[in-house]
Point group: C3
Chain length 358, copies 3
Amino acid sequence: MSNKINFGNYFEDFSIGQKIVHPLPRTISEGDVSLYIAFTGSRFSLHSSDIVAKEMGYNKRPIDDILMFHLTFGKSVQDISLNAIANLGYAEVSFVNPVYVGDTVSMTSSVIGLKENSNGKSGVVYVHSIGVNQDGNEVLNFKRWVMVHKKDHSIKSDINVVPTFEKSAPINIVNIPTIKKVDTDASGGEFFFEDYEVGERLNHPEGITIDNSDHTLATKLYQNNAKVHFNDHMMKSTPMGQRLMYGGIIISIARAISHNGLFNAQWVYAINSGSHSNPTYAGDTIYAYTEILEKIEVNRDDIALLRVRTIALKNQNPKEIENPKEIENAKGEDGKYLPNVVLDLDYTVVIPKKSTKK
Amino acid sequence: MSNKINFGNYFEDFSIGQKIVHPLPRTISEGDVSLYIAFTGSRFSLHSSDIVAKEMGYNKRPIDDILMFHLTFGKSVQDISLNAIANLGYAEVSFVNPVYVGDTVSMTSSVIGLKENSNGKSGVVYVHSIGVNQDGNEVLNFKRWVMVHKKDHSIKSDINVVPTFEKSAPINIVNIPTIKKVDTDASGGEFFFEDYEVGERLNHPEGITIDNSDHTLATKLYQNNAKVHFNDHMMKSTPMGQRLMYGGIIISIARAISHNGLFNAQWVYAINSGSHSNPTYAGDTIYAYTEILEKIEVNRDDIALLRVRTIALKNQNPKEIENPKEIENAKGEDGKYLPNVVLDLDYTVVIPKKSTKK
Amino acid sequence: MSNKINFGNYFEDFSIGQKIVHPLPRTISEGDVSLYIAFTGSRFSLHSSDIVAKEMGYNKRPIDDILMFHLTFGKSVQDISLNAIANLGYAEVSFVNPVYVGDTVSMTSSVIGLKENSNGKSGVVYVHSIGVNQDGNEVLNFKRWVMVHKKDHSIKSDINVVPTFEKSAPINIVNIPTIKKVDTDASGGEFFFEDYEVGERLNHPEGITIDNSDHTLATKLYQNNAKVHFNDHMMKSTPMGQRLMYGGIIISIARAISHNGLFNAQWVYAINSGSHSNPTYAGDTIYAYTEILEKIEVNRDDIALLRVRTIALKNQNPKEIENPKEIENAKGEDGKYLPNVVLDLDYTVVIPKKSTKK
């Protein structure tokens, strides 16, 4: 047998402070952008038109933040989560600088926590990952933790180093050019920062069905090589019985659907926390609704931030789940996620103020 | 509930003379062009090769006219036909100027007719839509009419303003550069304007099967957001029971298939009328045949026009439906379209004359 | 009936020495490159990043050799194999010069052999095909032979001109720039020419399931118009009962999977022989393993060649078929390919030497 196959890392392969340079830097192309529109039907005008982007203050259209996330994040799967039992969480995900067609993104991670499980079979690995462009400028910065298998169940290390995370990504500088004007005829909606209220709920009306070819094409494009998404032969002998959709697909679809209601919120500033609360498979139709959690000023006249929570549902229209006030949205009386809830995403978007209206 | 969701327009939302600027200008990319070849297998050499395009008299290859149609037309769905019961027809569709990768297309519509249905539940909206590029030059000009729901069935307006349409798009200037030479080794066929005869029928031999992922990827790429094409969960509770294919997919496939017989007719000049005579669903195999209706000179030595009629069929080879002379092609003795006929497209193509042959 | 339909060539249409210029030159775009990653999940860093390519000695990233093969080869189907009963083999396939986005490839073939079958119904056509770029520089050179139908079974020619082929493509110049340095952090593996041993076997761990939309999108993108791959309606009345996957899809997937083990072997130098030993259909999961056949020096300090054999399997992990020494790998005791073996590809890759390690 050859020693040249990379089977990914197991719990014992990680150590605190270890730095991992993920392979496969990626030059982003117009093909990636078109495919992303084909996967999601995304309608945010900033990413659709160079003319709109120039009018707003850019030299050309930047790529969609979630597309950038997938292309950069995908690189870390081989080293961090190829042997993952579960992706447990994200925190402090910041979208630092805009990314354009022609940029080359790459990523490195540092191990910031390790906690062996008491059963001796697995452990949780915490990493801090930073994505940069060809000039070394940060484009993505996040922490995540995954449960991975151990190679040897008989040796126990009892390691227990658990980092703490901010509840929301810190608000630092906003690397967005001064927004000159927003053409609501182009963006499709006339609502600005001032128009949204904390507690407001947007039931996005669209639902999009995802098939096996779409989701596997997308995940392969992102060069995310987690086997569970591609190998139906292997998955048939698991309890799932079929290929599991990459959770990032749901984030993309929910974000695209949220356009209808958040037309002018064209930037993702941060992801504060995210939970893939139930699995999704080919044939599922994804719906979403959004709650406005917080309105945040950032010392600028042109833009501000909205912290929002988008809940994605499978095969259920958001109109059908309006919880009574005493139960948290998307959860049942037992405090657990409802069975059709597939994503609970707490994130922060940038939205222009009324003064920018053309 | 939020007031920020756009549910599209209902019959009462339209008024004669109203001008609608459709959102979402779109910069066309190389990714769109590659995806269009992947969707259709199109073999027209002018759109496949910069070298061929230059030899013919262009600076670089223009994009396929039908791809341009979808990318431009798709913008109008949100405002015009999101609540459509049926897309009733097109008229006077002109492809005015060539479009290239890097161009940004956008569209506006004027309401030119309104006719309330006698049942009080719906009405027909007639619009005149004009697509332009980033310099304001027209690239697409058409009229269409759709039946849309009313919001309030109890109030009747009895409005009845119906425009008249030309039977075929008017022949104006032809914005095609002087065609220097046509390399039939590159185009794949040696037939020119002079070789076709009125009444000639071309049974295109190819048949292409369309699956759910292909047609939804295409329709999402075009940012056409009509729900019936994407939402399987919703469609399961309708008589159709599944996602309906966007009719433009059939136009694209029929046009691509028609290459085998119309090799050198690489431009669509106009669509005179079109009918999606039966629905298509995933798994259907599309075939097509073309009849030559009219030969039209346009005062040029290099090119002329052919008015043709392409009939697309599902799951039936065109060889199998040769009507007797007394029955119109594609229709039964009762004058209705045969059940496998899914498109009846009367359009005009540009084709070079023999003098251009390399 | 029209005389303008091209039904492809039959055995009688070919003659020794005949030269065929295949239609449809193709300008390669960034869209093609992104789609290829989406189809295969390919992880070879040279084709993924301009930064990596520059560091190695290129001006920008060349396209994947197998993508170039499909885009160029696809052109010959219309003339050579549209009426093929079987694609019998390839020989002496050389990848002569690198190809980049923006290049336009085209292809011509010469008939070098003809052998009528004794049954009078078909014959074997041998062609030598050469692909060039826009400057006339060779990019692909190969011989192949296909069995095609005769039009008239009653007339026999008894022609029997069979060319001979080299067992492996000849080793000529290697048109690869001097490789300055290889960053194993980027390529994902630290193994170089010196590390591989003849006889070594690499069981690539990934398996990728292919669906109908993926494989038909790919084959249409390559403008390969063989009907068996697209027309489900027609195929339902054949013994196969469904669309047959284009064999090139399997070559692409096997090559992409082989990255895990052959990380730095980023160039295909030649294909010596190839056999599609069993058919593949939608839903099949493709696995692969590779044997190192030969180590070849080419008078360069930076690179050398590995001749390898990659076996692709459907729905079976390569770990499960380790033949005993006395039986050739991938074959049963009867000398025939095992039923799950779908590709036996003998090819030569370029791999850098240890001295290039960054």
